[in-house]
Amino acid sequence: MILFGQILEVLIGGLLSGVLYSLVALGFVLIFKASGVFNFAQGAMVLLAGLALVRPLDYLVAQGVPFWVAVVLGLVFAAAVMTVTAWLIERFVLGPLVNQDGLILFMSTIGVTFILEGAAQMIFGADAYPLRLFPTDAWFLFEDQFPGGVLVNKLDVWGGMIAGVLVAGLAVFFQRTKTGRALRAVADDHSAAQSVGIPISWIWFIVWLVAGLVALVAATVWGTKLGVQFSITFLALKALPVLIIGGFTSVPGAIVGGLIIGAGEKLAEVYLGPYMGGGIEYWFGFVLALLVLMVRPQGLFGERIIERI
């Protein structure tokens, strides 16, 4: 019974932390779906959103503003910052590159990464700032069935619920609205999209805005978990295997990929780790991704593109 309780605890913990990876992966999927660009800057956007939230929040609280009012004001401010960022990126980076190859756009996002990281830390400061939006203590479930119960982090549960709502909303947005259809159209072919009357610059602004807002949501959860600090940008690396497993173009894929990575790396750490010297959860996700690449290169939910030779 103790064993089963332990497996359950590891599994639940893994699944929930996997959802947190999905939150970051979602930002990548959005931009990739809508502009065919792998957005290297997504991690930097999470950092920017987090800093733009936590710094005004701390300032307002220090001024004696009630906490929840300060949170709302901080969120509004951060959302405004992400809106301006989206506009600037579209106007000065991507706008001049319409009709260019995907690789060129990808390179430009690498540049955006450094600018965002530098600017965010220059404006808002480069320390680690704690953020307390969600409860960080834990529940102990099933204490009657298992000795010691099953530990579940409240923060992870919050993250899971937020991700669920986001995904449901985004899935409907992409599949069922004219803007969503226009986004997918732009991703496939710029000039054809323009020829049916879709203004590309506007669509790209919307995409980067939505990705910025998803980054903000990820920042609230991850900021609470790790504190808002520079290392949050490395989350982008954690999102990579999630994307490979789920497929770069699928919103539900980002979630399922996150669940597989989360559960996989935690189970591996606890049950395989001891035989391999431990610490394997940091690279186990990439092993899973590699396996998926060998069997299904487009990912579990990705669009299968058939090239004619």
């Binding site: 997918r184 991703a187 020829s195 049916v196 058939i306």
Partner: protein
Amino acid sequence: MRAPAASDVAAGEVLLSVENVSLSFGGVRAIHEVSFDIRKGEIRAIIGPNGAGKTSMLNVINGFYHPQAGSITFKGVTRTQMRPFEAARGGIGRTFQNVALFKGMSALDNIMVGRTLKMRRGFLWQMLRVGPALTEEIEHRHRVEEIIDFLEIQAIRKVQVARLPYGLQKRVELGRALAMEPDLLLLDEPMAGMNLEEKEDMSRFIIDVNDHYGTTIALI
């Protein structure tokens, strides 16, 4: 509206008039002082050898290229600079020489994208999928199904377009342009690379579009 010149003898008013348009890329003069009119209801062909600048001409009309000299008058409005989505809004639809479809999407979705401009409801309504937005979506779907019937591609409407044979892809592309209900339809080599049967089909569709919808067509 431009005053009718002596050369305007054919019936129907002038829909598009191109005057002294010149376009060059660096030292290459792609188009040099070209002028012509297209009248409403016409099927007008632009011919010339490879590299003569036929596609460049379409790109100028459609707003992809901006001519260095000359003016273009469409539906009585003269302009020198226009962005492609503005041209689409004005009622110019087009197809491309190399098939430019949205490859990851089904034939149906491709044609639905052509209706983008005709949809009015905000995306919040569309996300909720209730009331007016739903009615609108059904209405547009109905129009798209008419086009699908017209082009005889009922059987492939749910197929991802990348999987379709070339001739059918061309037909879907024509469908997408038709879904915009354009006043002027620009077809860039609609029959290039087709076999005889596909060519016959395509010719028939082009003539039918002109008869049935009264669309003015310029083709290369």
